[in-house]
Amino acid sequence: MKNIFAIFKKELRRFFTDKRMLFMLIMPGIIIFALYSLIGNFIPEADPDYTYIVYVENDTAEFASFHTNEMYKTEIHSISEWDKESVLNAIKEGDVHLFISYEEDIINKIATYEPSSGDPAPRIEMYYNSSSMESSNIFTYYSGILNAYEATISNKFDINPGLTQYDMATQEDMTARVLTSMLPYMMMIFLFSGCMAVVTESIAGEKERGTIASLLITPIKRSELAIGKILALSVTSLVSAGSSFIGLLVSLPQLLKGMNFTLDIYTPGAYFALLAVLIVTVLIFTVLLSMVSAISKSVKEATSYGVPLMLIVVVLGLSTLMSTGSVKSIWLYLIPLYNSVQCLVGIFSLTFNPMHFVVTVISNLLFVVGGVFVLAKMFNNEKIMFSR
């Protein structure tokens, strides 16, 4: 027991008296708090006055109270205003959010229905579009309230029974949705991992091996050294990330077999924008990791210091998992990395905004220029380059 306690104390002493270790232990919480608070402040809250367009067939007074609620402001239309086919098309287009079809005379049918009879239960059908956040929201609301009501009357009707397709999302919508939920996150991780390996090796590794001094006594300018390294490391990182990305794209059709997965929904312009966003993102990662590597004495130390940056990337990537579209505020596209993630979401969700793209590329390039300037200063700082 005494020995266990001695080991226990030694391990705790190691973790809690080493500043670097302590930093690594506490940093994740601080980063997550700071990042989500920051993003939360920027992201506009859901518009309380947003009106959901709902078409109803065979509406009844008994269910009318469901249309009134505090969370979702609805605008109810009768199907008699339009034909069913047009409403379903409007759901696909995003102009209508939900179509509820009650079976004719449903209240009386519910009252007389005997679940033990074996006859089909009265039907309520709800058509929606899962690729639209608004349509999904209002569908979830009505499903919830009707299910709750059904439970109080001993399951005397069915919601969306049978094999009818109630989700009006097109194949294109579904592909975009799946890719939007997966790819921005994975790509950010791939890019960062690729950069992490090569940047730490090149800068902290050179410091650790003592080869950087040979470069620093040549007549080249520190800015030339910084730019040369960043460009070479970016290309290398991009190759590494590109390899992961192509591997992912090639394997996706296998992974999503049931979806008739196709990448044809994206235009050449989208692929160009994707490449441009990837390049500026890699440049940002390279600059940030170069700075981290410059202040580190070894590759191991640089890798440790890179972990908080990795957490930021993971948190930013995770924020896209439930996303169906990019944020609208142009100011958010001035924040490096966050803007990259949002641009990727825009590209994959087919909600690409050229203005957001331009702001992202320019702001990231400006950040890179500033980073190169700082890195050149760091290369010129003997305390940083030759610290022991």
Binding site: A213, P219, F386
Partner: protein, 258 residues
């Protein structure tokens, strides 16, 4: 003789980290590494900085080579101030230290070309210089072998060759024979003498008395960051061995400190 290197009242202080303060058993946050050091070196001479570990020799060489900046004083290489114009100084010096390693992945051939390019050496000049240096050091047989696969002695020879890519007027060598076997050490020593014959100025730091006696024209004895004596080797020895002369000076300085 033309003065190639002039160091005036050089002073360099380092901040000590908590870890370093613990190691050195002191509460003082700053350490004076070089304390008002001055000396000159002339064309075609080898000047040796002799002193114990921690005396400030390496720090002085690092200031000369522009790797670190002095707090006070200045270094002039061929009349150019290190403080005012470090880029021009870098064009004129060659520097070799055990701290400066070469990337193990590359070959001597590639590294020589790479550093020649950084020094803007014209293609033809580079080629003839490389041929001459590689032949002289016997590197030509290993020109395409990765540095990591070379012996310690061969690595040192490659370092020497690379220090000469820009045909520098002044060469700064920190412990040039440290860690070398006797044969390689002799090659390096002979090479230093041949460089001197070519009219170059060479500054070496070492604590190997035999090396100083063999190659140096003048010696500066540095203790605790201060230049205790700077004179010709004959005057310093005064009929004694260099080792005896050094310890007399060292003991004398201890007495003065007390």
């Amino acid at each position: 003789m033309k003065e190639i290197l002039k160091i005036t009242d050089l002073r360099k202080t380092f901040n000590l980290s908590l870890k370093q303060r613990k190691l050195e058993g002191t509460n003082v946050k700053k350490k004076v590494a070089v304390d008002g050091l001055s000396f000159s070196a002339y064309e075609g001479e080898i000047y040796g900085l002799l002193g114990p570990n921690g005396a400030g020799k390496t720090t002085t060489l690092r200031v000369i080579s522009t790797l670190i900046k002095a707090d006070e004083g200045d270094v002039f290489v061929d009349g150019i101030s290190v403080k005012e114009n470090p880029d021009e100084v870098r064009k004129r010096i060659g520097f070799m230290t055990s701290e400066m390693k070469m990337e193990g992945f590359f070959t001597p051939n590639y590294l020589f070309d790479f550093f020649s390019e950084l020094h803007n050496v014209p293609e033809q000049v580079k080629k003839s210089r490389k041929d001459m240096l590689f032949k002289k050091f016997g590197i030509d047989k290993f020109a395409e072998v990765k540095i990591s696969d070379l012996s310690t002695g061969m690595k040192q020879k490659v370092s020497l060759a690379i220090a000469l890519v820009n045909d520098p007027k002044i060469l700064v060598f920190d412990e040039p024979t440290s860690g070398l076997d006797v044969i390689t050490a002799k090659v390096v020593t002979d090479f230093l003498l041949s460089l001197k014959e070519e009219g170059r100025t060479i500054i070496i730091s070492t604590h190997i008395f035999s090396l100083v006696e063999k190659v140096c024209d003048r010696v500066g004895i540095v203790i605790d960051g201060k230049m205790k004596v700077s004179d010709t080797i004959g005057n310093i020895m005064g009929g004694k061995s260099l080792e005896e002369a050094f310890f007399e000076i060292y003991k004398g300085s201890e007495g003065k400190e007390q």
